[in-house]
């Protein structure tokens, strides 16, 4: 019988002719990613009693979670990382400068997310790289320290779910709405431990950025990884930037899936995930009119050029509502530069947005837009958990960049179709 993508890739990496769900394999990753938590990993790594990381050229570190450092503790973390990087000869280090940004965005833009690669990251949204046909999954700090030392990890071969997407997006509906619909339907544990393969004509029509939005959020239904088959768009994106060789690994036609689901885009409408769980999904119209205090456009989910462009197209020549703070954080400096060149930044600033430097910002409550008790924020991020943006008594609604921009314009949660 044929194999799914996860089965095929893991069997290849483990040098086995066949594996099945539930098997445990020992594999070596092609690349590993860490961010500010590298400081903690370094301390753990040193305590193991090993001198050198197993392969410095396979280690990528991007500072993004709190940049530039907001406190002395953060600054000290960054310093420890810089020293370690120099001492170990780690060349792929992205410091606090205008080459950086959110780790997942930088990782992809720099050509590290390559089809057929196995990538581990000490961040749960490492699954984003599935958009390029990568097997990518998140692990914890100790485990990353172990990988730095040994170059090995055990992984359980996951069951797979296939999601076929067909049709075309109606006006005002985007990849974010699709993934919210899927998470709402399957639930926060609907894909626990599983590999999720997206396929179908609508996926092939999607841009790389939209594919990244989909794969970024598979962890919100518990998935181990996401997968989209690489095509001409993937190859052309990677052509001049790929840092390494790759091949294309596709699932077999006769692979067996635990579940096969089909989504028709024309049936979708703009959605939000309501506090405090990502699977608490409803149509925007059900919460329309709810007053907001802050709107955030950014993060590894929706802080790319097309996202900022949509926001600018809604806010161009207008002003955001009085009493609302709109914070825009381009996902990377590359995105920021291009948005500057195209006048998108100017349009957003004229409309009243505050632009913060590329990085995670307030997404997980570090800095640059923490909420006060009782405040409501609508955000393009991927998580709305209680306390996520730094205050347990605030509320976070997740939505597409269009819905967030429309809401900032009106001061209340707004269906973007009203303003497009």
């Amino acid at each position: 019988m044929g194999m799914t993508f996860a089965e095929k890739l893991l069997s290849k990496k483990a040098d086995l002719s066949h594996v099945k769900p539930g098997d445990v394999v020992i594999v070596e990753p092609d690349r590993v990613l860490s961010h500010d938590n590298a400081a903690a990993i370094i301390r753990l790594f040193k305590s193991i009693g090993v001198e050198k990381v197993w392969a410095p050229e396979k280690v990528v570190i991007v500072l993004d979670h709190a940049v530039p450092a907001p406190t002395d503790k953060h600054a000290n973390n960054h310093k420890e990382i810089r020293e370690f990087v120099a001492e170990q000869g780690i060349q792929y280090f992205y410091d606090v400068n205008s080459d950086g940004g959110v780790c997942h965005q930088v990782f992809c833009e720099e050509g590290f997310a390559l089809p057929s690669h196995l990538i581990l990251g000490s961040d749960s949204h490492t699954c984003t790289y599935g958009a390029f046909g990568v097997f990518a999954t998140g692990i914890g700090r100790s485990e990353m320290a172990g990988v730095w030392a040994l170059g090995q990890i055990w992984l359980r071969v996951p069951e797979s779910i296939k999601i076929e997407v067909v049709g075309e997006f109606p006006k005002g509906v985007y990849a974010k709405d699709l993934i919210l619909r899927i998470i709402g339907d399957l639930g926060a544990d609907g894909a626990d431990y599983k590999s999720v393969e997206f396929t179908g004509g609508a996926i092939r029509n999607m841009s790389i950025s939209e594919r990244m939005t989909l794969c970024n959020m598979v962890i919100e239904m518990g998935a181990k990884n996401g997968f989209i088959e690489p095509d001409a768009k993937t190859i052309s994106y990677l052509q001049s930037i790929a840092k390494g060789r790759f091949e294309i690994i596709k699932p077999d036609e006769d692979a067996s899936y635990e579940k096969v689901l089909t989504y028709e885009l024309s049936e979708l409408e703009p959605l939000v995930a309501k506090p405090h769980n990502v699977d608490n999904v409803s149509p925007v119209k059900d919460v329309a009119g709810l007053k907001i205090d802050q709107a955030l456009i950014g993060t590894c989910t929706n802080g790319r050029l097309d996202d900022l462009e949509i926001a600018a197209s809604i806010l161009g020549g207008k002003k955001i509502a009085k009493g609302v703070r709109l914070i825009v954080i381009p996902a990377s400096w590359r995105v920021y530069r291009e948005a500057l060149r195209r006048g998108i930044v100017e349009t957003l600033v004229e409309a009243g947005a505050v632009i913060a430097p590329p990085g995670c910002g307030p997404c997980m409550g570090n800095h640059l837009g923490i909420l006060a008790p009782g405040e409501v924020c609508i955000s393009t991020a991927n998580r709305n958990f209680k306390g996520r943006m730094g205050n347990p008594d605030s509320e976070i609604y997740l939505a597409s960049p269009a819905t967030v921009a429309a809401s900032a314009l009106k001061g209340v949660i707004t269906d973007p179709r009203e303003v497009l």
């Binding site: 938590n37 749960s124 100790s142 485990e143 320290a145 040994l150 518990g222 998580r383 730094g390 347990p392």
Partner: protein, 165 residues
């Protein structure tokens, strides 16, 4: 190994942001300090009143969300004896093992225990005993996982392995 403790009962989808708030991830660095913030945004009494050996009993998908290992570290540092859940989120499950925190999947237990009740876990036999005399079984941990837990977590386990080389 036998674990005996009082039950702290929580529902489904307890995520890592409420187990250990993100805002502390780069500023609270010592496990003993992490312990003081365990479950802070969900149940402020937990970190103050939990005693070593106490057992968290939860619904499905415990530990979903971020990969932050402190969600397991803070529970371990507080002395939590085990987390028994209907199911676990994948990264948390690995992190717990790597921190030497016992995680047991036993979907049946949840309905039969109340908050504060004392229960007993016999890890070797794979049994959970309630006060009322009910016995629930769970699958024993794979051998290599058990070794990591017995060594006190992945880092001490690796330290041992590298010394032996």
């Amino acid at each position: 190994m036998i674990i005996k403790g009082r039950v702290w009962k929580y529902g489904d989808d307890i995520n890592t942001d409420v187990i250990f708030p993100g805002k502390y991830t780069y500023t609270v660095l010592e496990p003993s300090e992490m312990a003081k913030h365990a479950l802070e945004d969900l149940d402020p009494s937990f970190a103050k009143e939990a005693r070593p050996g106490d057992i968290i009993v939860a619904g499905k998908n415990f530990g979903c969300g971020s990969s932050r290992e402190q969600a397991a570290t803070c529970l371990k540092a507080l002395g939590i004896g085990a987390v028994v859940a209907k199911s676990f989120a994948r990264i948390f499950y690995r992190n717990a093992i790597n921190q030497g925190l016992l995680v047991i999947q036993c979907p049946e237990l949840f309905e039969f225990v109340v908050n504060g009740e004392e229960i007993k876990i016999d890890v070797d036999k794979g049994e959970i005993h309630t006060l009322g005399g009910k016995v629930f079984r769970f699958s024993p941990l794979p051998e290599f996982v058990r070794r990591i837990i017995d060594d006190g977590g992945l880092i001490p386990h690796l330290r041992k392995r590298f010394k032996e080389r």
